[in-house]
Amino acid sequence: MTTWDETQPILEIENLSISFFTRLREIPAVMDFSCRVMKGEAMGLVGESGCGKSTVALAVMRDLGVNGRIVGGTIKFKGRDLTAMNQEELRQIRGSEIAMIYQEPMASLNPAMKIGDQLAEVPMIHQKMPKSQARALARQLIADVRLPDPDRILDAYPHQLSGGQQQRIVIAMALMSKPALLILDEPTTALDVTVEAGIVDLVNDLAAKYGTSMLFISHNLGLVMEVCDRITVMYSGEAVETGNITDVFDRMRHPYTQALFRSIPLPSADKSSRPLKAIPGNFPLPHERPRGCNFGPRCEYFQKGRCDATEIPMAPVEGDTRHDSRCLRFDEIDWHAPIAAGVQHDSSHIGEVVLSMENVRKYYEVAASSLFKGGDTKVVKANETLSFDAREGETLAIVGESGCGKSTFAKVLMGLETATDGQIMLFDENVQSTPIQHRNTDTVSSLQMVFQNPFDTLNPSMTVGRQIVRALEIFGVGASDAERQQRMLELLDLVKLPREFATRMPRQLSGGQKQRVGIARAFAGNAKVVIADEPVSALDVSVQAAVTELLMDIQRKNRTTLLFISHDLSIVRYLSDRVLVMYLGHVVELGTTDQVFAPPYHPYTEALLSAVPIADTRIEKKRIVLEGDIPSAMNPPPGCPFQTRCRWKSQVPGGICETEMPPLRDLGAGHQVKCHLSAEILADMEPVFTVAAE
């Protein structure tokens, strides 16, 4: 290591190819992948699921499992070739010079070991540090990752910490031996946005403090922009474009990168005038990749006989430093051509009130023990005084982080649970205390739901067609089997799936296709109100756009009321007419999309907006990082639910935030905010986003 020169790259991957060997065939996972990470540099690896980005990370750790093998190329770490090392040498490097942080924090921590012992283990093994010294170092790092009360944390078990705290511990553990390279594999995907913002901030600061290089793997372009200096975009096992963040974001030179940017809801997108543009087609399976350019079949600049003729090498882009693209035609394409305006839609007309909730509450009683009644019962206030209307043809977004009560709200509305108090009117019918078994078929079929997890939404042992037909049977659609069969095929047309899919099993479908079937099933009985519970959050960005557009299309056609539950504010801003922000079971802000996304904000909305990563270099954002975690609904703070994390609390005289629940105030034009802040302070709030002058 003494021979290593600081001006040389820390990590240099050259022409790396990785294959997985199964009984049937060799499956190439990564082909001809090259990248260089310099000291102190953060490299972002972006791509859709299955593009091989995690495989690259595992190859750097030389942890490809039994079936995976590096079939070509080199991985040089500080000038030494990792592919030629034996297990003993690798053990020296792993965890001490290269550390990895995984997606699921709980899975990275040993649940049976105290935090302090787990952290101290690292330097004790790698540097033979005495235990007392190692624990002191652990304590210092816990303070470094900004966890309160390090002494308590040292003695805690992982399950006693929240997800965000756990991920901070994992980061602390990775930094224990001051690694030269940190690999982060989707480190914040399992966390809420406000918690994510905190972690991103932390990672940035720590990298600057320790001078660590990073390989940051993510599917979220906005997040990569906030963390990284350089970016490599991967598609189907190949790096398609690499360069500095600003070069790639502003002067992209690969059609896939461009298509990716056009499919994410940037603040400039608008559902009526500039709709999202989904990438047509599907991701190729690893053993069915096309000849020539992998992206060819889905590329709008594709030229037959040229793009599918030979393997395409990476070529440097003139004028930029270290900016390469794997496209034959990148200097022919007019990259500034305006986006071909798709079908323009008028903003849909919003009709009568179809659903109205008034002061709905839902409390759960949690008994101390389920076997023997008695003892302390605790009350979980999942929903508190929810009041709002939803109109025909309207999209109402319900936004909030996990634990804010949005799923409970959906359950109450669907009738899976009954409300503790309050009124729910659905088409002039009181349904608040009618569980779903007692609702009539009409009510049930007009109020349907689209679920979050595409891999869970369909019964894996029933054909797609059968599942839709079943919904038709239950809703009493069609008089005979043949009629229902016909209607099922029409529903498949509606969600733009080929009719052959009727006989397929769900496991033969991709995530986006399954989600379409879920939508078809929800619309089987001509639903009037559809609750979409994070319908696209588990999908890849290019598919997200397509599914979102589909929902919008159906809504325009059927004049459906869409209740769109989400934590992703970019997509909410793109498609919703009105937004309802929830925190700890309370509605904290309610208004039209423009009202909610512009000042005055509720302090929580402001923080939420600032936490959302935006993949646009022109937008400048105020960084507001919330301290701490969401309080438990079992034990909510007194007064305003948000007071424990609010940065505006000092502006309210008399400390009433801590004692009094703020009323829901109307700021005019139906914009309601639950906050004690005076009208003047609210009016003085600055916008979170500003578009930088070009």
């Binding site: 389920s370 076997l371 669907m414 009738g415 899976l416 779903i436 078994q437 609702r439 078929t441 049930v444 079929s445 349907q448 739901m449 679920f451 979050q452 997890n453 869970d456 939404t457 369909l458 019964n459 894996p460 042992s461 029933m462 919904a471 049977e473 239950i474 809703f475 009493g476 089997d481 099993m505 496991r507 033969q508 879920g518 099933r521 009985g525």
Partner: protein
């Protein structure tokens, strides 16, 4: 006559099993030829493990089916001078009998080979059926326990634990005790036991077809008619046609097998149900207003099949061994029954001197259980693949 050499013994056994070979070859030829049309059964022929397992199971099934053509002697008749005869021994005075005891004779001078063949018939007649009834009871109780949870679950789980904690041997003694045999308890138990499958299938079909009353009435009607007919015969021994009947001893076997197996099946099903009921497709069924039994039987149960199929195959093996244990108490099958469990038990006493009377059924049992396991593995593997 000289005793046969091992090679001759194997050749003669293979010759006796000729109908089995023919049937196996036919089955495989047809199945592989048309495997794309048979769904999961056809997919089984894509997996080597599954094919081997299926082959072994089918082998025993055909042995049981063609037992009458395969046996060389009557499984109960004794031939003088053949007590504990070694495999391949020639009969002293064959007359019109088959001239050899291919796998030797047992302590009562009966032909071990013929008993093994007839034993296959006994085993395959009782074990799968008994295991199936245990499964239906376990499933019928396990699904609601897991799905509704709460007090019902607490109660049923407690009951299952109670049965599991009850000493099985004591239970067997109680079942054979004349004081119990004379009471209506065995009949009542049988009444409940055989009622469950009928209810199970009725509910299953009703939940699926209640939206189409005509179809529902037809299917449920057929099930109820056949069910009532079988029920009359099995429980009250009053089948007018005489097709269904069951000796009181066999009834005891069923009661015992169900008592031993059902609580375990209950726990497996309950556990899987607790997991599967949190899936979105269950929520989707709830939000379109499906009844609880449809959700349990059509949304949850099919997705629990993996572990259940594997466990079912294993449990047929256990049941076979259990039959032997029960025979030890003079329970269930008649003392001279050729079923493998009882035969192993009978051969146990002279095991060190004459191993073959016990070894032959033991190996048969082992191969059947192995075949069932391989089949289960193959089914599980292929059902998850495209």
């Amino acid at each position: 006559m000289e005793p046969l050499s091992w090679f001759e013994i194997l050749a003669r056994i293979a010759q006796q099993l000729l109908p089995v070979w023919v049937a196996l070859v036919l089955t495989y030829a047809l199945s592989i030829r048309f495997k794309r049309r048979f769904g999961l059964y056809g997919k089984l022929f894509d997996s080597t493990v599954g094919m081997i397992g299926f082959g072994i199971v089918m082998f025993w099934l055909f042995v049981a089916l063609f037992a009458n053509f395969i046996v060389t002697h009557d499984s109960l008749s004794q031939v003088s001078g053949m007590r504990n005869a070694v495999p391949g021994s020639a009969l002293r005075d064959p007359r019109d009998l088959y001239p050899y005891y291919l796998l030797g004779g047992d302590s009562l001078a009966r032909d071990v080979f013929s008993r093994m063949v007839m034993g296959a018939r006994e085993v395959l007649r009782i074990a799968p059926f008994a295991a199936m009834i245990s499964f239906m009871i376990g499933i019928t109780l396990g699904l609601p326990a897991g799905y509704f949870a709460g007090k019902l679950d607490t109660g049923l789980t407690f009951l299952a634990n109670l049965v599991l904690a009850f000493p099985v041997i004591l239970l067997f003694f109680l079942l054979v005790a004349p004081e119990i045999q004379d009471t209506p308890i065995p009949r009542v138990m049988a009444g409940i036991l055989f009622l469950v499958p009928i209810l199970f299938i009725t509910v299953l079909l009703n939940a699926r077809f209640f939206t189409q009353p005509a179809k529902r009435n037809l299917y449920v009607g057929i099930v109820l008619a056949v069910g009532a007919w079988a029920y009359l015969g099995l429980v009250f021994n009053a089948d007018p046609v005489g097709l269904w009947s069951m000796s009181p001893n066999l009834l005891n076997v069923f009661v015992a097998v169900v008592f031993v197996n059902a609580p375990t099946v209950f726990r497996i099903v309950r556990g899987i149900t607790l997991d599967i009921k949190t899936r979105d497709y269950v929520a989707a069924a709830q939000t379109r207003g499906e009844g609880p039994w449809y959700i349990m039987l059509w949304e949850i149960l099919p997705n629990a099949r993996g572990p259940l199929i594997v466990d079912f195959c294993l449990r047929i093996g256990y049941t076979t061994i259990l039959l032997g244990t029960l025979g030890f108490f003079g329970l269930g099958v008649s003392p001279e029954s050729p079923d493998w469990g009882s035969t192993i038990n009978a051969g146990r006493r002279l095991l060190t001197v004459y191993p073959h009377p016990a070894l032959v059924p033991a190996l048969s049992l082992m191969s059947l259980v192995l075949g069932l396991n391989l089949l289960a593995d193959g089914l599980r593997e292929e059902s998850l693949r495209d």
